[in-house]
Amino acid sequence: MADEEAPLLIAEGVSKWYGRQLGCRDVSFELYEGEVIAVVGESGSGKSTLLQLLCAELTPSAGKVLYRMRNGVTRDLVLLGDAERRFLARTDWGLVHQDAALGLRMAVSAGANVGDRLMAVGWRHYGRIRSTAAGWLDRVEIDRARIDDSPQTYSGGMRQRLQIARNLVSQPRLVLMDEPTGGLDVSVQARLLDLIRGLVADLKLSVVIVTHDLAVARLLSHRIMVMKDGQAIESGLTDQVLDDPREPYTQLLVSSILPP
């Protein structure tokens, strides 16, 4: 986190309209290497739209998203060629969906799911791909013996861990996560959060994590951005936003947490 380094990702006044329907409006932030930002807010607040804009799955109606490439040059995502964008999406970026079935290929084996991205960067040696995939299964606490099984046979928590392995195997610099622990049992959630926390720290990943769960944001993020009706209404250090919320809506969110 050297101070003189440029941000990895910059959103500048990003807006998205679906016809007359607002997705998100005028969102700006910078994300540096090794930083985790949590985007919190209720469903329909524009969180997922923002995530899709950040990885060029959607094109902004206004504003831009800038990304610093591995060669140090910061580029506007809209101005990248399709091939460049696809390459980034398969190597430099990870996208972890809430529904693991969206992020995995359910018809092929777990090992093939992890191996995909290695092949995308030109790996051809079957033995090496398989052993790297097995190493990643260890890392996300999936029994190697399950490497040839399809994710169809996996539990929800295992699928989510497999999705993480599939994304991280190519050593991405930016990982976007959409409610990665949503819909999982609490104990499974805790284990997954632990895993994510460890990987983020060890691999110095930059992460944008969308969640409606403030406890998840507290555990994983350095900074929080609160979204409501498509706009970022409050942002700051995670403990600042959660311990000293300023906006009425943020105060409502924070005060609505049920103590265990």
Binding site: A190, L193, D194, L237, D239, Q240, D243, D244, P248, Q251
Partner: protein
């Protein structure tokens, strides 16, 4: 002597939007300076804003007015105006904070809870763990507990884990919110020894401490926070 930390005309009011926007003025006109290697104790009854002042210095609470100037890596940084990224840098390299209660992460062993800030500074994990074990030992946390998450520890044990975590990186400024409140006499004495040792090495300390004996033993200056009471 160098000033390590200075507050100038700091003020804080809480606005409770869910209670019809009622305003709770907390403190105003908070001004004091702490010299390097000195310990300032904030005194005064509960509810006068002592913890709020500490949290503003650490950046957990926003500061409405005034300046909080910290010597940081040869530079002066105003915490009240610092970006989140600057505050994260301050916390990594300059300011440590011992809260009243440990906020434990589920499933993380005590040893790693303590070692984590060192790892974040770039120390190798094994070395950080070894140093963490050494400090936990000094604070009488038995080695058999090191591999367990502190959530199940007693209040006093949790507080010592908390102290170890904040003391391990050897930061130049330490903020302590009732560090010995949940400790028995012997353990409190160990913490006081540790504090005295840090002061001799030049660490600057701001502490909240209700126990008059402890206060007398650690404080160079005592500030009565009631003088910063904000007019309601």
């Amino acid at each position: 002597m160098t000033v390590a930390l200075e507050l100038r005309e700091v003020a804080k009011t809480f606005i409770m939007h869910l209670q019809h926007g009622v305003q709770l003025p907390c403190v105003a006109g908070v001004s004091f300076a702490v010299h390097a290697g000195q310990c300032t104790v904030l005194a005064g009854p509960s509810g006068t804003g002592k913890s709020t002042i500490l949290k503003m210095v650490f950046g957990s609470y926003r500061c409405d007015r005034g300046q909080i100037v910290v010597q940081h890596g040869g530079q002066r940084t105003d915490v009240a105006r610092a970006s989140p990224r600057q505050i994260l840098g301050l916390r990594r390299d300059t300011i440590g904070y011992v809260s009243q209660f440990l906020r434990a992460v589920p499933r993380v062993p005590a040893l790693d809870v303590v070692a984590e800030p060192l790892v974040a500074k770039g120390v190798a994990r094994e070395e950080a763990r070894e140093l963490a074990g050494h400090l936990l030992g000094r604070l009488n946390i038995a080695p058999r507990l090191w591999a367990l998450p502190p959530a199940t520890f007693s209040g006093g044990e949790q507080q010592r884990v908390n102290i170890a975590r904040s003391f391990l990186p050897d930061l130049p400024i330490l903020l302590l919110d009732e560090p010995t409140a949940s400790l028995d006499a012997a353990n409190a004495a160990d913490v006081i020894d540790l504090l005295a040792e840090r002061k001799r090495r030049g660490t600057t300390i701001v502490a909240i401490e209700h126990d008059p004996d402890v206060r007398d033993r650690i404080a160079d200056t005592v500030i009565d926070v009631t003088r910063f009471a904000a007019a309601a």
